[in-house]
Amino acid sequence: MSVWIVPAAVIFIVGFGIFKKTDVFAVFTEGAKQGLKTAVSVLPALCFLMTAVGMLRESGAVEIFSEMVFPLFEKLGFPKEVLPLALLRPFSGSGALGYYEELCRELEIGSFAEKVASVLMGGSETTFYTVAVYYGAVGIKNGRNTVPAALMADIAAAILSVFAVNLFIPQ
């Protein structure tokens, strides 16, 4: 089924645009230019954070920490290689993206661990950044139960990714 979704979405968006007499090509290229700007604008942050994450990874500190926390996740069948990604995800979008890319290259695509990493990456967001931006914008000092609730959602996402890969993706 999944092989149909993207082509269908693309055809539908363009078809609807033509039906509504939108100048599809002009609007598309204008929007794509925005995408180009986004890619360029995240690059400085990527350089900064990937260097920090890369140093941590190479020093072995991430493995040591994962080793410490791993027993908590082991019983759930959580793949060890993916644990640093799950721990990084709520804190840094660019850091997690860099780590994920590394995993994509190192793990065999289609392996259980790679799928869990991909599902986790696709099914969660950068919690702390979002909280800081939204509350910062309107001067909220006391976020009450926001962070605990959001982190509960993140933990749920990590546990559910293992479950979802087993349930939905034929091995």
């Binding site: 509504k20 695509i109 991909s118 939204y134 509350y135 309107v138 909220i140 959001a150």
Partner: protein, 191 residues
């Protein structure tokens, strides 16, 4: 972020020195930014393509239709905003932008929704229940097609990079449910 970098670098040097992996740490400090550039280039195409597609969806009015379709569901999550057209409008635009993966559009829309909620609360310094729910929604991933993940998987040789889609939807929906429930039940609630 500066503090994070400082702590991470310091820790790496300590651990690296202890485990004899200082050369690798040094190599990462020198070369990791090149990888950041490579990653940006890898993502450039799909970012351009999907930004273009979402621009078409917005211009043709498709985004507005999706928005209207969402409003019954949002009224369930925000029952007290039933008659607050402005706040509800901003929230549904934000959710639509998130669903379509329009990250850059979602944030400004989300901030204008927050401004609306803040005005309703009399510019309180403490988050209202609606704000907590709304922010928690934004910390969960609502994106229907995870294009970044798909393009990196394709890059690394996946035959069907979107075979994970049902699993991603399952995880997004259930973790969102967990988040909203935790936000609403006042579990951990501090006043």
């Amino acid at each position: 972020m500066g503090k994070f970098f400082f702590a991470a670098a310091l820790l790496s040097v300590f651990v690296g020195a202890a485990s004899g992996r200082l050369p690798e740490v040094s190599a990462a400090a020198v070369g990791e930014s090149t990888k950041a550039v490579e990653l940006s280039i890898k993502l450039l195409g799909s970012l351009c393509f999907w930004s273009g597609m979402t621009a078409v969806a917005e211009k043709s009015g498709l985004t507005k239709i999706l928005c209207a379709a969402l409003s019954p569901l949002l009224k369930l999550i925000f029952p007290r905003l039933k008659n607050e057209e402005k706040a509800m409008g901003a929230i549904s635009m934000n959710v639509t932008a998130n669903l379509l993966g329009m990250g850059n559009a979602a944030t400004p829309l989300g901030i204008s929704a927050m401004k609306e909620l803040s005005r309703m609360s009399g510019f309180s310094k403490s988050a209202t229940e609606e704000m907590v729910c709304f922010v928690v929604m934004n910390t969960a991933s609502l994106q229907l097609i995870p294009t970044t993940v798909a393009s990196l998987r394709l890059e690394n040789g996946a035959a069907d990079p979107l075979d994970i889609l049902p699993a991603v939807w399952f995880v997004s929906a259930l973790s969102l449910f967990v988040g909203i429930t935790a936000a609403k039940t006042g579990f951990f609630k501090k006043t």
